[in-house]
Symmetry: C2
Subunit: 531 residues, 2 copies
């Protein structure tokens, strides 16, 4: 398996005309071969033109055909074998088990979307039959289905080189919806991206689909902006920094035709340690917390960066337990030199804030790009007064906020920005905790996309009920999720057909229901098997 | 029934502190009593604060309770009796039958949303049971429901003083979703707004809901902007001009926390006259078209302002038939002096464009604010070259575009902006028409929210399968509809609960399913009755 440095535009491999770059092995700081080429404006436009040309054909593929395509992508990724894992290890510093797990998740995700597509549920087919005898006016026959919005630009994330990258969640859900995808690969793992992109390209060919269904570009900021500006692109998926996401949003909103940007930006994922739980298991919670905080060098969107509890001896025990565990943790390789440097600076900034104390640091390392874990504490008055304490530090550092009482804990919850997750550690049999949980829940529901009890937020299942999203600034659009089958809704829009002859109707809406999809008929759900 | 001039802020009637205004009877040009007061910044903030205070209670009302509230609003509106119709007639110039029909539609709409709420379908409840034995890691119990996004600002539209105004579609769907609503009433019909607002206020009290569930303000542009800027407002519903909608969108996007604006802006609603249909029934189509064009003085978002056909004797017959019918139409009172003047100027502008010919004008009138119908023709080359010919003229004027052949007809379709509707007049038994329809449909699906066959776009049913929406600039967000039960989705966002004890879960997700809502369990739909 060789890694090529070309762009994948439709069925072609093309050398980009805007320069070259190389990946860096963050564990060593050494650059990796080969050189990858950067797209120029014409490359971007070419990929978008192919995507647009493929759109009408691809969006009308039958459920079985589109599902088979998603499954073929999964098989092609698996067929890359160990070369993919090895390249990803060298480009990201992530260990083998993590990457093997992530590959499994990526392929399972594609197959879950294939099942969703096959079911036809996402078509949301609805039929309101005509009422020719209705007075004063008859009612027309009205039928609704969801169709794909158009070609989608997906920006690969740095921190999940497989599951949130070239064939990750955004790509899988957009393809499942019927949208061609133009991926802008993350420069931190171009070799991994190129291998996966080749797998998708092979799946397109194997399934006989129009070549424009998928392209993979590498691009500088200017050309990435041109991708978002291209009039053929109809939606954007992005996971990354707040600044990056906001910049793309501004470009998308300035177009003659504005388009949605689904950006996952930043979160500190507050964990509330309720009194009875803290009393019963402060020591265990401290150790578990450090496991979650340091997983993957803390480079998860759902990393628990903020702990909130009523101050007292139980919280002291928690902090002591966490500090002990954390102090023994080795520094871990971070994804890129830039991320490692931003992390280092973020910790320095936090440590310099007023009324912030260091409870523990992890082990140091002389190796490049290692992230040294950190645990800091402050009081709630300071937290409420200092906006800088609310900001995410991407990596294994967390802040414990000591609250005076339950009322202040609730006030701090209200002061938080939008979050991907919020977690309650509680004792369900103790009225102190359940009462406080009931008081907190309305606030947490307003703030977060997922609320956990007695778990830790890292680890996001890909299922039907998962929500990986949340109010601004956790994401740019809190009405949706980027993980789980509900993610397909981002890339669909409803179309109504009025009095259309059966032969002209899309198959999902024809009387005979040839695809046997479930349909809402006059407001009543009729399952596909009943048709 | 007396009409008061106060703002309705929660349960209070408050004189606004920012001046007064009066409605104008467009049929006579005379001002109407009483004076209505305008909100100042404190009034806006007060309404938003009450809405926010009501939110957590209101959004957790049980389906039966919230449904009863919607039904009570409908009853209270009906209890206003003829005073509402008479006031609306004097403020809008619309005739009694139209307003009685609109009142029925408004109340039916509230009752349809009540049925949707009672069903619990919009909760989209999903349960992915825990898999404690799964390897390598167990799966947590994951449950999803949709919750209301927060307080919503609704801007009443001028052209539907009941169905798109104070208790119209946006308000009904937001209340159904569980969102408190702050309405900014349209200044063209303040008395109608105040009467309906009083009915909603009475329903809030009668149902024992927190007063902040509903407020009605009148406001100038600055204070209307402040309403959109208020940090407690979480979404905006708007129907009106493109300039107005874009201005609100810019304000919403400039907030520290951007929020969605669901604006319905402009459309010309193209009608394609296919060859066999034109050959068989050009005369009848011409007369039907004029009925649709002149309905309600052409003041519908779905008014058919653009006709497209292959040039020839059949199209000549259509134009002649339409011209004959239109020339006999009386000028109709338009909604406001401003709208009448904008219409007059729009027609003058169109008539002055290069290669545009007048086919017919309706009857003139010496009375104030009358809109004189108009029918113009041009050729497709000119239409493609002149962007001004694509613009909506709000009122009873349409443009016929003569295309050289079917290929040019398709090219014109591709050049159109986003639309609320697109209509095909076709003969389903003639291969010429069905072939051309098949060629056009992929383009029309990209361009419009609703595609009609052998009907006219005016008249929008409120059902489950209706889509009143469409790609930019028909609306600011083509992923949704403002009419029909799917409109509720605009005001909902998903929240996931992970491993939450049953007693802390919202009722829709509890094991016992006390509300008997349908749920997606591990990907399989389980209907509420099966629970």
């Amino acid at each position: 398996m060789t890694v090529g440095g070309d762009l994948l535009i439709g069925a072609s491999r093309v050398a980009g005309a805007a320069g070259v770059f190389r990946a860096v092995d963050p564990a060593t700081g050494h650059t990796l071969e080969p050189a990858f080429t950067l797209a120029d404006a014409a490359d971007v436009a070419h990929a978008c033109a192919l995507a647009d040309a493929a759109f009408d054909t691809y969006r009308e593929t039958a459920p079985a055909e589109r599902a088979a395509f998603l499954e073929t992508i999964a098989s092609e990724i698996e067929a890359l074998g160990d070369a993919l894992i090895e390249r990803a290890m060298s480009e990201t510093g992530l260990p083998r088990p993590r990457l093997e797990g992530e590959r499994a998740r990526t392929c399972n995700q594609l197959r879950l979307f294939a099942r969703l597509v096959r079911s036809g549920d996402a078509l949301d087919a609805r039929i309101d039959p005509a009422l020719p005898e209705r007075k004063p006016l008859p009612r027309a026959d009205l039928r609704l289905r969801r169709i794909a919005v158009g070609p989608v630009a997906v920006f690969g994330a740095s921190n999940f080189p497989l599951a949130f990258s070239v064939a990750g969640g955004d790509t899988a859900s957009a393809l499942a919806a019927g949208c061609p995808v133009v991926v802008k690969g993350h420069p931190a793992h171009p070799g991994t991206s190129a291998l996966v992109g080749g797998a998708v390209q092979a799946a397109v060919a194997r399934c006989g689909l129009p070549e424009g269904v998928f392209s993979l570009l590498f691009a500088d900021n200017e050309r990435a902006g041109a991708l978002v500006s291209d009039p053929r692109i109809q939606a954007v998926g992005f996971t990354g920094s707040r600044a990056g996401g906001v910049a793309l949003m501004r470009i998308a909103q300035s177009r003659p035709q504005p388009i949605p940007v689904y950006g996952e930006l930043s979160a500190v994922n507050p964990v509330f340690l309720l009194p009875a739980a803290l009393e019963a298991r402060a020591d265990a919670l401290g150790a578990q917390f450090v496991d979650s905080l340091t997983l993957g060098a803390g480079q998860f969107c759902t990393n628990p960066g903020l702990l909130l509890a009523v101050d007292g001896p139980d919280l002291d025990r928690f902090v002591a337990s966490a500090a002990t565990a954390l102090a023994q943790r080795a520094a871990q390789t971070m994804l890129t030199p830039g991320i490692a440097e931003a992390y280092r600076r973020g910790v320095v900034r936090l440590a310099g804030e007023r009324n912030v104390e260091c409870a523990a640091r992890g082990l140091e390392s002389g190796e490049p790009n290692r992230g040294q874990a950190g645990l800091y504490t402050t009081d709630a008055d300071s937290f409420l007064a200092q906006p800088a304490l609310h900001e995410e530090i991407f990596g294994s550092t967390a802040l414990v906020v000591r609250c005076r009482d339950a009322a202040q804990l609730t006030a701090v919850a209200r002061a938080l920005e939008g979050q991907l997750t919020a977690t309650l550690q509680l004792d369900a049999d103790d009225a102190r905790d359940t009462t406080l949980a009931r008081a907190l829940l309305p606030t947490l529901e307003r703030k977060a996309g997922r609320i956990l009890v007695n778990g830790w937020p890292t680890g996001v299942e890909v299922t039907h009920a998962m929500v990986h999203g949340g109010p601004w600034p956790a994401t740019t659009d809190g009405r949706s999720t980027s993980v789980g089958t509900a993610a397909i809704e981002r890339f669909l829009r409803p179309v109504c057909y009025q009095d259309m002859p059966d032969s002209l109707l899309p198959q999902a809406l024809q009387d005979a229901n040839p695809w046997r999809v479930r349909r809402l008929v006059d407001g009543n759900m009729v399952l596909g098997g009943d048709a």
